[in-house]
Symmetry: D2
Subunit: 335 residues, 4 copies
């Protein structure tokens, strides 16, 4: 039966995959076991953040050398969801999800992945986009046996720079429909970026104009997987919602057990947080998402006691408006 393995590795710069090479060299992971990657690189997280592409190219060349598969083939079967921006206390790192067959039995944290078809030109941010993501998530659920995912990562195409938020919204509602978190009828194109009461607090989306098709990573309990890791997810009502983060850590046995931490959030578009004006949205020199990641990342990292937190902005329909979500994977036994 499969066992989900998780390794979290740092990097000295976006082209540095030496820690992953060392993992493979040590035999701790076999190159063919790697099934998905979620990571943070140290760029600005915006359109001209090339640290994601640089890390991805470096990783694919490494895995190609170890597996004999061409980089393009690896990219087509291993979802790699990278987010730029390690402002403040955040630390560049990658979380590797691997699967190993073991002679065991039980129920445990499982992994599912999926790739959708190429999104047609002009379809980003439309009903077709919502439906495509819904289908990709449903297919990944079926294939992996994860009936009720705890967390769904989606990387999705944006037709244009101007359409990034709309693309994230479409993917979020598509995944939310697959999960049953929002009613099918309401989560249609008309609701995109409008009805913010519709959201899933277990979906984390990133969009890119260079992405040709949806990529999906599911995490959740499933029968037939080895036990050992646990997942918890909490909505955050705003960036200051430290109680949510502390509740999450407590539910998983305390910060010391955490193996990977993820958060999504956004600068409150009202311009205020708990009644006080914030300045994230009107700073010509410092992008709002850089402000957001620095602040949200610090809140989550302070609870976790570790700067290796995946923090990503752009939380449309992902958790409450002005807030977002936080998730973590922990060892079930004491570390």
């Amino acid at each position: 039966m499969p066992r989900l393995l998780l390794e979290r590795v740092g990097m000295a710069h976006p082209g540095d995959v030496s820690a992953i090479a060392a993992l493979l060299d040590s035999g701790r992971l076999a190159p063919g076991e790697i099934r998905a990657v979620v990571g943070k690189t140290e760029g600005n997280g915006g359109l001209n953040d090339f640290t994601r592409g640089y890390f991805l190219q470096s990783l694919l060349h490494l895995l190609a050398a170890r597996t004999g598969e061409p980089p393009a083939a690896l990219a087509a079967r291993i979802p790699c969801l990278l987010s730029g921006g390690t402002e403040g206390v955040l630390s560049p790192h990658a979380v590797l999800f691997a699967v190993r067959e073991e002679p065991a039995a039980g129920r445990g944290l499982a992994l599912g992945t999926g790739f959708g078809p190429r999104l047609p030109p002009g379809a980003a941010g439309t009903e077709a986009h919502i439906a495509a993501v819904e289908a990709t998530v449903r297919a990944a659920m079926a294939a992996s046996g994860i009936a009720d995912p705890g967390l769904v990562f989606v990387k999705t195409p944006a037709g244009s720079l101007a359409g990034m938020a709309r693309a994230r919204a479409a993917a979020a509602l598509g995944a939310a429909r697959a999960l049953g978190d929002v009613p099918q009828a309401q989560a249609s194109q008309a609701a995109l970026l409008r009805d913010l009461s519709l959201f899933s607090d277990r979906v984390a989306v990133s969009a890119g104009i260079e992405v040709p098709c949806d990529e999906v990573i599911l995490l959740g309990e499933a029968p037939g997987w080895a036990p050992g890791l646990a997942l918890a997810v909490r909505p955050m009502r705003d960036v200051l919602d430290i109680a949510a983060v502390q509740g999450l850590a407590a539910a998983l046995g305390g910060p010391a057990r955490l193996r990977a931490v993820f958060a999504k959030g956004e600068p409150d578009v009202t311009g205020h947080i708990r009644g006080q004006r914030h300045t994230m949205l009107g700073d010509t020199d410092l992008d709002a998402q850089r402000h957001l990641r620095a602040a949200l990342g610090a809140v989550v990292a302070a609870v976790a006691g570790d700067g290796r937190v995946f923090v990503s902005g752009g939380a449309e329909h992902q958790g409450p408006a002005g807030g977002g979500l936080v998730a973590a994977i922990a060892e079930q036994d004491a570390p």
Copy 2:
């Protein structure tokens, strides 16, 4: 006997003192009662941050119109310590310290202020600078009757841009000597920026090349002052030290009682926090102090539940290396 009054007001932009005007209009404060100001404006906090000067000019014109004193005379008797940079969740605001005579008796939180002599050219960052700040703090302690200050703010001259850190260090050690927090003999010029084991965790310094002389604000308990407000201060061992912040809030009766919150910190110069690499010190596009304030501010604000936190970088000899301090003033009775 004197009672210390504290008002915390927001601003819509750095030239907006309408909330202070409203306070004066309402009679809640009389113009002549204002004795010191500590505030955050929304600039970049660096050399070309003119939001501090703009706010100060606006404030002085307002108080001049209400008191009949010229702006320069007000500036010479009211210390005004402004810090630029409200990254992330931080909210631009000013804390006004006022003193009112009341027919009462007891012991309570007191305020002391002081201005030193003009620092001679070339003296910034030397033994003469350390001694000048020590003398100014001692004089303010004597004049106010605060024998053991809980928190000392110092605004101090930097001879040059390159000497900002050294000037902060000199002022911190000078204040630390006055407080008895470091041995007189060790806290000399030779220790500046070298012996980081020497620090006070109740001193918060800012330096400016436009500042002609030291300005000091002391807070601490003293006999003959009306009760009502309480002060607490805690060292922070690093930016992630949320336990220090939570301990502070608990000591003061919980976050809801907090009336003003202050923090100092710095990007760890080792390039790592708890063993993980951070990227604050090598970002050509985003100044290290902007990273720091966003992160530290979010940690403190998340505990306080309010973005109106005075957060300032540059914590040389102010709290542990790589860390800093956090302080708050609270209502002693339930809000």
Copy 3:
């Protein structure tokens, strides 16, 4: 008869009006002679650029002290058009336009100013906005006797941050209609930001969300004004159009005679200049207008041999698309 006087002064920071005070002290200008101001301050030129407000506040306080008029009365009769952003070689400065009565006769460079009525809420960027600017420019032309202005500065209200470009476009087309540079029928609301073949290459607009009504400054020859200064204006086809700048300088007798220089431009929205890709529009860390001002300012300043050039981005309907305009005022006699 009136003589137009022009003084160009530097500043050490946005609150520094000491050079203007010195001009007034010297008697070179009388406080009451100042009629209009055009200047550059060293902020980021964006929404959170408070250097414009700081300089304006400082200037108004200075003039109020010298004239006895309240700051608000001065602001209501002296148009003050400030642009933030002195990237690259640009130098913070202000151009003061003053008028003095002299016993002389002739025809020379004249100044006209005007203020429109308060723009109603919701009117920014509509036909009403276009018509209001047209009327203000026509009224200033009639009042000043400048039948054919060489250059028109307009400062205009933007209803919202998102509507800045549209507000500039409306003001540009309004002024262009008053000047007869575009046909009345075509320069309607429908053409805003759409038909970029409609433009005036003698209109320079800036918009602000804090501006309540249009302010207009006209320059052009008129009878009854003393001679001595000359104005020339040229369209620039793109940011690299150095021939336009050199032609302008030559027409005015060479760079050494220039007393004030102005330019408008924009990052080409096609993403290319003369067939080569530029990166101004996709830089998350550096605003496109900061890129633009640095580049356009350097081209103009290199020809002028002086960094005191008023350079402003946002050239919608002001000169050719992807280009803009350059203008200068020169001494007619050798300096």
Copy 4:
């Protein structure tokens, strides 16, 4: 006999080497003919600019696939000097220098390259560093037969971030000694960053903390090379020195003949250009070198009529203080 070939190619992003692949596919260049690369990528040009590494990795993988040589072997024989930062009108591009054997005779523009030994730890910015670069340049001159190079590019190790300027200075003086542009006795360690009257206006240096040894690219006339390309170099006295750029273009037959353009410059450390204050050195949000490249790049590109200009800051001992140099390679026959 060898002929120097030069190709200038654009890129859509730092990982895009498709234009180079197309050149190779077309047969216009053979992979083995490429001998040196000088290019600009669109990062911030600072410590955390990873666009240089990304482009280099992409290029080496491409050439490895085409030549069969491993990337590391290619990196050890092809100097690749990349500079980040395409602010303003600058366009990301690479200049490929290739050499092809032809049955011809004459004298023409020649290429020399060289790699020095690994610089020992602690040697950066010392006399040993100066001497090492001097030796590498001399060796490359001897090997290539270029007795009097017109332009020397040096990429050199910096021991630390703080030592970048000093490392550039050491390499510049080393190359200047090899060229005979400064007296051997004076251009010693004591002169580094001190005696700015010592400079070569035909040396362009970049430094990096990741660079293990000096890499040198020489251009100059030599016997035995085919004619066809011409090189010219001019000092620039300041960033506004457009006459130098126009003189250069004229000397080469006009802007239309230019095939590659290079410039070095620096923000004047006096804080003034031709008597007017600039703001490049005190901008907390926008690095001084980004300011500089935008301005200098625009001046040079405006004359060249093309944004594909290699512009690099940090011109210590490279051209006059506060200025720098400009160079171009042109077709000798009409294009």
